[in-house]
Amino acid sequence: MAGTALFGRPVMWRIGTVVALHDETATARTITLEVPDWPGHIAGQHVDVRVTAPDGYSAVRSYSIASPPNSHGRVEITVERLPNGEVSPYLTQVVAAGDRLELRGPIGSWFVWRTEQTEPIQLIAGGSGIVPLMAIIRSRASVGSIAPFRLLYSVREPRTSFYREELQALSDKDHSLSITYAYTRVAPSDGPRPPGRIDASVIASATWPSNLAPTCYVCGPTSFVESASDLLSASGNDRDKIRTERFGSTGERK
């Protein structure tokens, strides 16, 4: 249709069928959906998921896409279960293979990494904020990009981190991807740092020097994103190079 190239394409509701489920941690599950008319996506984008109860009540939540761009009509989301969540308990405990979910997307053109980007990339994740950054890392790997990447991943304790083996394998075979974990509650006893929040010294030791002008992607709970982006800015990174995505105080967004 004329004009669609200029204006992108309408974001619409589609039906996805659950084809696989995989537990990432005790409280987080990856749901693989097959979406026959999926138009493709860019790493970093999200979808809105609409869940409707038998009485007609419906709720919409946004979830980052974890899978890299692909031509198979496959979309993976990783959902963290929140104790008082309205949608996440259903998605992490009730949904089964063969179930159908309503999806709107892909959404977003700012918090994305395109495979043609070659500049140094700094990724900073807090908790489940790793999900869109994992799509970015997987996208980089799937096209064989050699863009220099650093990931700083803040989690409460080792057992709450997502995708650990895959991240380890990717960084083992590609030294231009380096990963630093920062633990806020419990750190391994042989780790380099006691548990604590990301601070200026962690930023100084684990992120690109600002004179390399990395593009930074920060994702996590709102308080985490505000703190990490302020630290990046204070260490000399231009605000325009810091892209952020916030999940709110409850994390209910993702």
Partner: protein, 102 residues
């Protein structure tokens, strides 16, 4: 600190709802706050979605930039808090060419 609680999301979270009215993605669009004059990406706005609609506030001065409420078939959009919103179609390219990840 301006916000004592971090109960807001950001413009990324509102983009799905706003796709009901905008043909182009809003997250990369740059808008100017009519109150303080700050020019920011829509992705950087503070967004509140607990209410029946969406309220986007300026990340700098907290003034309301946009309100969107959907009631049945009707969508109400109030943009008086922004002097303009500018979209760059270079950002709104469709998805990446797909590669054989199979």
């Amino acid at each position: 600190m301006i916000s004592a609680t971090y109960d807001y999301l950001d413009g990324n979270a509102a983009a799905g709802e706003l796709s009901k009215v905008f043909a182009m993605d809003v997250t990369a669009a740059e808008g100017q706050c009519a109150h303080c004059g700050a020019i920011k990406r829509f992705a950087d706005t503070h967004v509140y979605m607990q209410s029946p609609g969406v309220v986007a506030r300026c990340a700098v001065c907290q003034h309301v930039l946009l309100r969107l409420v959907s009631i049945r078939q009707r969508v109400f959009l109030d943009l008086r808090g922004m002097t303009y919103l500018t979209f760059d179609s270079a950002h709104d390219r469709p998805s990446e060419p797909t590669h054989s990840a199979s």
